[in-house]
């Protein structure tokens, strides 16, 4: 399944320089289009004036904490909820108002929702039979799909005779066998243990390449979203905070919320001191890409990912500090460094055994490449 990752990288070349806009107009054919969609439950606004286009054949993730509106958005696309305002299109067809059974969309539910009274074969055949596919065709298509998800030979079993991972595969096969326009996945891996989850992430990605159907995947797990999705919409309070490729979101988050939700980041408060310069509060002046500043002035926050910081003064942006804590975590050593601008986290790759400083109170100079810096508005709060 590893090759699918390579394929995705080839298919979706990622720009080296940080793009100015994180939502480029790359959308070719929109398979799913949401226009100004709002969903209110009584007084609670679950989804707030959301517009979104999802490209045909892409693996799209809605990422956010619980209560951010990602599941409600998915349920509206699936037809389980109707939007209070706005329109939903599948291809060119407006589907808002249509019930789920009239939409060319299938769902892999978080709980799997397999029919306990039916065999694996009949579970997978359910949608085909409702659409009037007959006898031999049903058998062939079900068996083909069970082979794709690696469940051949289990046709006669009941769901309760299967392991969690196998049930997950049945749920996937049951949805995919209908060859829907769009497949919705609602936290499909949440119930699996870590090892199986990692394996299924890669398998799902591979299956998506094999079938070429648009996948919309809802998750709160940033790593899962980044592993699988071509594009991710980070949601917060019913709105899309930022939309882009995993690389864009990670390298150039537009808000502190996104920076904090995807991975670890160091955010240092500062004041804009020039078209490419920011004076850090309590520390030195550093250079940032002009594009990252994007015309901001006054108070901002400068962000640097922990792995972009070196424990040597080789790069242009420098700050002195003192190691407070170090933890060896295999691929990297994690340092907490006390600096005039506050505590910074640094990941240093363990390319040579025992290369980094291990002693506490070790004085050091941290440095990083200006190109690895991003800037967000200072007033924004980090999640959690």
């Amino acid at each position: 399944m590893g090759e699918s990752i390579v394929l995705s990288a080839v298919r979706e070349p990622q720009t080296q320089a940080p793009p100015v806009e994180s939502t480029p107009a790359r959308v070719k054919t929109a398979d799913v289009r949401l226009v100004g969609v709002t969903k209110r439950f009584d007084d609670v606004v679950a989804v707030d004036d959301l517009s979104l286009e999802i490209e045909r054949g892409s693996f799209f993730a809605l990422l956010g904490p619980s209560g951010c509106g990602k599941t409600t958005t998915l349920r509206m696309i699936g037809g389980f909820e109707q939007p209070t305002e706005g329109e939903i299109f599948l291809g060119d067809r407006e589907v808002s108002g249509l019930p789920s059974y009239k939409r060319d969309v299938n769902t892999v539910f978080q709980s799997y929702a397999l029919f306990p009274h039916l065999s694996v074969l009949e579970n997978v055949a359910f949608g085909l039979r409702r659409r009037g596919v007959k006898g031999k065709d049903v058998q062939t298509r079900v068996r083909d799909m069970l082979r794709i998800v690696g469940l051949e030979g289990l046709e006669g079993r009941r769901p309760r005779q299967l392991s969690g991972g196998q049930q997950q595969r049945v749920a996937l096969a049951r949805a995919l066998v209908n060859r829907p326009r769009v497949l919705l996945l609602d936290e499909p891996l949440g119930a699996l243990d870590l090892k199986l989850r990692k394996q299924m992430q890669l398998e799902l990605k591979g299956i998506q390449h094999e079938v070429g159907i648009t996948f919309i995947h809802v998750t709160h797990d940033q790593e899962e979203a980044m592993t699988m999705a071509d594009r991710i919409a980070v949601m917060n309070a019913g709105r899309i905070e930022q939309l882009g490729t995993p690389t864009e979101l990670y390298e150039t988050p537009q808000t502190a919320y996104v920076a904090g939700f995807l991975g670890v980041s160091n955010l240092i408060a500062g004041t804009v001191a020039g078209p490419d310069r920011v004076r850090l509060h309590g520390g030195p002046e550093v250079r940032v890409p002009p594009a990252a500043l994007a015309g901001r002035s006054g108070e901002v926050a400068v962000g640097i990912r922990p792995e972009k910081i070196d424990l040597s003064g080789e790069h242009e942006n420098r700050i002195d500090g003192r190691v407070v804590e170090s933890a060896y975590i295999g691929v990297a050593t994690q340092y907490v460094v006390e600096t005039p601008c506050g505590r910074l986290i640094v990941y240093s790759q363990n390319t040579q055994p025992g290369s980094g400083p291990s002693a506490r109170d070790h004085a050091t100079t941290l440095s990083w490449n200006p190109e690895s810096t991003f800037v967000v508005n200072s007033m924004e709060e980090e999640p959690k």
Binding site: G78, G79, F80, P99, S100, Y101, V105, N106, T107, F109, S111, A113, L114, F115, P116, H117, F126, G127, R130, R131, R174, A175, N178
Partner: protein
């Protein structure tokens, strides 16, 4: 405690003992005695003696075949009617009852606060020839001027349906209430309309309740005599009426006992065939 610790294996049997003892004394022994009686001959005046009188069974079947047939016909009708009434009722309470569910369930059980016999007597009064229901039906012409409700099979079947309805409704409610609503959503996601989702998912998953409910209704209804006694006439008499009168009025114990065994055997056979047809899996869920 020391004893139990040394003989752990005995614990299940000790836990079972009170129940088994009760069952033995109050069920197995009387049943054995009834079997013994059913093979006696003689009469009330000279007394009964055990003679392996298998003829009692032959006589029970030959002499009262119409009452046997009527028992199963009425019980079957009442079971089907109770199912037709209870299913929508239980469905509505389970899925639309909301926070009032328990109150609605209480309404179903409420008649049990009054004795079975009293309730049936009340129906006898309500359906009486001079009663308001008959008068109204005569007025609007559904019943002729001499038409009655009492002493008809309609009244007996209606009484049976009414009296055993809770035994149908409650197991149905339990099995419907357990159905995960996400399965219905999944069915609709897989192109099943609401009606199709009901037929393909809700109905099969509620079958354990249907099976339990039909058995709990049919078995006691087939042996019932109160409804036929109070709401019917001799033309509506079921086998329960015959057994009751043989036991208590004619004091013909061998005949009554042999009929009881024929009834029991027939019901057991019927239940076995039914369980086989729907699959025993449905009984246990």
């Amino acid at each position: 405690m020391g004893f139990l610790h040394r003989h752990r294996g005995l614990t299940p049997y000790l836990l079972l003992a009170p129940g088994l003892l009760y069952l033995g004394v109050f069920f197995a022994v009387p049943l054995g005695f009834l079997l013994y009686q059913s093979l006696e001959s003689g009469n009330f005046d000279v007394g009964y003696s055990f003679t392996w009188a298998w003829g009692n069974y032959w006589h029970a079947i030959r002499g009262y075949s119409s009452q046997f047939a009527r028992s199963f016909e009425y019980a079957g009708l009442a079971t089907v009617l109770a199912l037709l009434f209870s299913y929508p009722l239980a469905y509505w309470i389970a899925f639309r009852g909301g926070k009032w569910r328990n109150l609605f369930l209480l309404f179903i059980v409420a008649p049990f606060f009054v004795t079975y016999l009293i309730r049936t007597l009340a129906w006898e009064t309500i359906l009486a020839d001079q009663g308001p229901v008959v008068r109204f039906l005569r007025d609007i012409g559904i019943l002729g001027s001499g038409g009655r409700l009492l002493a008809t099979s309609v009244a007996v079947v209606a009484g049976l349906t009414y009296n055993f309805l809770p035994f149908m409704a409650l197991p149905l409610y339990v099995s419907l209430e357990q159905i995960d609503q996400r399965l219905i959503e999944a069915a609709q996601d897989l192109y099943a309309s609401k009606w199709k989702a009901f037929l393909r998912v809700t109905v099969p998953l509620s079958l354990p309740g249907v099976v339990a409910g039909t058995l709990l209704t049919f078995i006691p209804a087939a042996g019932d005599f109160i409804n036929a006694e109070l709401l019917g006439s001799t033309n509506q008499h079921m086998i329960g009426n015959v057994i009751q009168s043989k036991f208590l009025e004619l004091i013909d114990y061998p005949a009554a006992a042999s009929m009881s065994f024929v009834l029991m055997a027939t019901i057991l056979l019927g239940v076995a065939l039914y369980a086989r047809a729907v699959g025993t899996e449905k009984l246990t869920g």
